[in-house]
């Protein structure tokens, strides 16, 4: 297989980069080592589009955050991904923290963040009535928003695929050789040749860079643990609520999600194992002890699940994104160290990298690029008349599989048969929300397994939760 560009890593950065590249007359491959896209840092993070006042002035983080946040609404519109511009509040609980708000405000101003305002106690209470009485003031940033990171990534992959990108999953890059014109990538799916490489391998981006001799950075995996709360808590807050930031990041936040749940977290702990996404007792205890400070009426008893994610933090002193051609090889382009605000920055990083590759290769924009990913059917959001019309067209939308989230068989079939379709249970869950609700797939799990097996022509004991050995059941009973 021969390509102009191979993007390594189908997280949100890789996916949006591949989609931007597919605007040009280039042969693009998007390589992902996992069984599905969006399985690394993209799978589990705070799902926030930051306004952009956190990063130091003049950094790539500051630049791409503000640009990416500005691009996010239109990207989400084209890809039909729910995006809610709900705005964020950094809440101060002490006089010292009130001073920090000023610092954040001025930093944000220099970064180009529009329309920020420091709110006093009364204004804060008006905007967020459930806020704790111990809150003194807050920094209001109206451009912040929420988006589902894996939905955005899946949509971007599907759109890239429709525009000619080859999305190869279970395709782990083992080594890279270069003959000056083409890189040869040894992968678990065979040999792949590409003139250019974009390294968007997340926590493994240092390992991939080392394959071409670039050892200029190391990734230190940084774990963050979260609780996801039942939808019944969602009416208690309407904005993203940060604490004042510390050295280890933005602290434990509380935010609505686009799907109507409430998210509490993350912790921030540097770890050794890049694939360790286990939650810990200490981490979860830390989230429960801190999460509800902003909104005392929220109870973690309503948690429906907990999870942890890994951020790709670099050991470089400047603590910035590493974006651009490697010093070792001008055709190998890094998009590494993409920790927060990586999701917010991804649309801008993707555009920047695609334009860079286009300039290097002299590729022209395609006439027939279709920027739109059609909106998937979302039965639960429809009214009775829309549902009636939908089921009349296709009866399979009349059969509810997931009762907690009201997901129909038709939607699950759409998810399986889309260009970058679901191949396992978690894939169906991320694409349709089947199993995402309060029973956490207790009832629908076995039905989803059955449908996957039927549609993929497999036995049900070949169906996995997320690839590899993560089978659901073993052999037949005696």
């Amino acid at each position: 297989m021969q390509f102009d560009v191979a993007v390594i890593g189908a997280g949100v950065t890789g996916a949006l980069t591949a989609r931007e590249l597919s605007r040009y007359s280039l042969k693009v491959a998007l390589l992902e080592k996992c069984s599905d896209v969006a399985m690394g840092a993209t799978r589990a993070n705070s799902a926030i589009v930051h306004a952009g006042f956190d990063a130091a002035n003049g950094t790539l983080k500051a630049k791409f955050n503000v640009e990416g946040t500005a691009l996010m609404p239109s990207v989400c519109e084209e890809l039909n991904v729910p995006y809610k511009n709900i705005g964020s509040l950094v809440v101060a609980y002490s006089e010292k923290e009130v001073e920090t708000l000023d610092i954040l405000y001025h930093r944000g101003y220099k970064n180009g963040v529009p329309d920020m305002k420091v709110l006093n106690r009364r204004e804060l209470k008006e905007l967020e009535p459930g806020i704790s009485d111990s809150a003194l003031a807050a920094l209001w940033a109206p451009t912040a928003g929420i988006v589902c990171p894996y939905e955005l990534t899946i949509a971007a992959c599907n759109n890239a695929a429709v525009n000619g990108t080859q999305v190869l999953r279970e395709c782990e890059v083992k080594s890279i050789a270069d003959d000056g014109e083409y890189f040869t990538l040894e992968t678990t799916k065979g040999e792949i040749r590409a003139k250019y490489i974009v390294n968007a391998a997340g926590v493994h981006s240092d390992d991939v860079a080392r394959m071409i001799g670039d050892d200029s950075f190391n990734i230190i995996p940084r774990k963050g643990e979260y609780y996801l709360l039942d939808k019944c808590e969602s009416e208690k807050l309407s904005h993203i609520l940060f604490k004042c930031p510390s050295e280890m990041g933005k602290g434990i936040l509380l935010t609505p999600t686009v799907d109507g749940n409430v998210l509490a977290g993350p912790t921030s702990v540097d770890i050794d194992d890049k694939d360790d996404v286990d939650t810990t007792q200490e981490g979860l205890a830390m989230v429960s002890a801190n999460a509800c400070k902003a909104i005392p009426s929220i109870s973690l008893r309503s948690a429906i699940t907990s999870f942890s994610g890994i951020r790709a933090h670099t050991d470089r002193e400047e603590n910035d994104f590493i974006i651009g051609p490697s010093e070792k090889n001008g055709r190998f382009i890094n998009a590494a160290g993409i920790e927060s605000p990586g999701l917010s920055s991804a649309p801008a990083i993707g555009k920047y990298l695609a334009d860079l590759v286009a300039k290097l290769t002299g590729a022209e924009k395609k006439q027939d690029f279709d920027p739109v990913r059609p909106a998937p059917v979302r039965f639960r959001e429809m009214d009775t008349e829309q549902r009636k019309a939908l089921i009349e067209k296709d009866k399979r939308y009349g059969r509810i599989i997931c009762r907690c989230e009201t997901v129909t068989e038709g939607e699950i079939l759409d998810a399986i048969h889309s260009p970058v379709g679901a191949v396992d249970m978690d894939g169906v869950k991320r694409r349709t929300r089947a199993g995402m609700g309060r029973c956490q797939s207790g009832f629908c799990g076995s039905k989803v397994v059955e449908i996957l097996a039927r549609e993929l022509g497999k036995d049900i004991n070949e169906i996995t939760k997320f690839g590899g050995k993560s089978c659901i059941v073993y052999e037949r009973t005696k």
């Binding site: 699940t305 907990s306 009775t384 549902r387 009636k388 089921i391 509810i400 037949r476 005696k478």
Partner: protein, 417 residues
């Protein structure tokens, strides 16, 4: 729009018994809406014996128990729609449901019986730290895989929670050749029926570890083991007592939650303890003409009691449809001192029947008494050799006592040691 006298949501043991009783009491047009492909509810996967000892005075398997009712339903003109999910109940008793043959259906019913059953608490409800690998599932899900689909959900198994489904699955998996390492129970007592402890664990040589829980799950892809730990009297894990137990499957039997999404949607308030609707002696909710019975109302230990309760709801719905309602002057019931809740939560003062109060105690009692009072006035005391939270208790109050109770005082049941 379809018109019915009575719509029953749920075709498990509760829904079927309620529909049949309503029919027997003269209700003409009845429909049962069932989300699974067949009637019978969860009984269809409960292939073990032990059902019907109270109601039929013989020991049946789950499917046998269900089929007695399925046959009776088939002999009547009760309409049944399977594979049909109810989406909404609106204010005017209009039900919207969907399936893949009729599409979206709307049904207007004079009365509605809610019989949606319950679901198992998932992992998220108790927050076991560690991996989100495969191999962690509720005991009921595993029961479906092994009994209905015919697949082994695991080979080396740890069960958390000694609820009845967990105990039954401990035996079931052992009989299928799996190694059940242990059953861990957070409480200092079992949450299952005594007969299940004896028949499912003791007889199979499976250890029951009380005051013990699973604190972490390990495994990158499939589960490889769990960390268990002892807990203190506040049920918190005791540091230093952690032990690794190898297993490829963790089954959770950590409690059941009535499935009251539709009830809530219908604006009916729920009892904080039972998580089911607040009802009167005929299981009528606070919305006139809407009744609830079975595990959606309160989690039962025995299906026999589900049947008995559901017949009350069926009879109540028939009375309502025929316009034979009561005055609406209620005596409230209240569990105190060791009694966690009582169903029904209120009784019509002018009721026409003796009323059984169903309730659970909060901990294990030996040689204690149940005391029924109204104000300071003791109505009855009953000695009980043993009471525990996992076994539902009942006392019967005669209707003439109910009608003679003074105004403004609640009927209370308490434990006296």
């Amino acid at each position: 729009m379809l018109n019915y006298d009575l719509a029953v949501i749920g075709g498990g043991p509760a829904g079927m018994a309620a529909a049949l009783e309503a029919k027997e009491n003269g209700v003409e047009k009845i429909i049962i809406l069932e989300r699974a492909a067949v009637l019978g509810g969860i009984l269809e996967q409960c292939i073990h014996a032990g059902f019907g000892l109270h109601y039929f005075k013989e020991e049946l398997s789950g499917p046998e128990y269900a089929h007695r009712f399925i046959e009776l339903v088939e002999k009547t003109d009760i309409d049944v729609k399977v594979d049909t999910m109810v989406l909404t109940i609106e204010d005017n008793n209009i039900i919207t449901a969907t399936n893949n043959t009729d599409g979206l259906i709307q049904i207007k019913a004079k009365a509605i019986i809610l019989a949606m059953g319950c679901r198992e608490r998932p992992r998220g409800a108790i927050n076991i730290a560690g991996s989100r690998c495969s191999g962690i599932m509720t005991a009921g899900t595993a029961q479906k895989y092994v009994n209905i689909d015919g697949y082994m959900p695991g080979h080396k198994i740890v069960i958390l929670g000694s609820g009845d489904i967990g105990l039954i699955m401990a035996r079931r998996m052992s009989l299928e050749g799996a190694k059940v390492q242990m059953v861990c129970e957070l409480q200092p007592y079992s949450n299952g029926l005594t007969r299940n402890i004896v028949q499912c664990l003791d007889d199979m040589g499976i250890p029951l570890k009380l005051s013990c829980t699973v604190v972490a799950a390990h495994g990158k892809e499939r589960l490889e083991g769990v960390t268990i730990a002892d807990v203190d009297e506040r049920l918190c894990p005791i540091p230093g007592t952690e032990k690794f137990v190898e297993c490829d499957t963790l089954l959770l039997s950590i409690g059941l939650i009535p499935e009251n999404e539709l009830t809530r949607m219908a604006g009916i308030s729920l009892d904080r303890i039972t998580n089911g609707a607040v009802v009167d002696e005929y299981r009528q909710t606070e919305r006139e003409g809407i009744f609830a019975c079975g595990n959606v109302l309160q989690v039962h230990d025995l299906v026999d009691y589900v049947t008995i309760e559901s017949k009350l709801a069926g009879k109540g719905a028939a009375k309502y449809i025929k316009g034979e309602s009561f005055g609406g002057d209620y005596v409230e019931t209240k569990g105190t001192d060791g009694v966690r809740y009582i169903v029904p939560q209120k009784i019509n003062r002018d009721t026409d029947c003796d009323v059984n109060l169903y309730f659970r105690v909060g901990s294990v009692y030996k040689g204690a008494k149940l005391v029924v009072k109204c104000g300071d006035n003791v109505i009855m005391t009953k000695k009980r050799p043993r009471m525990c939270p996992s076994e539902m208790e009942t006392v019967t109050i005669k209707k003439d006592i109910i009608s003679s109770l003074p105004d403004g005082e609640a009927l209370t049941v308490s434990v006296e040691e």
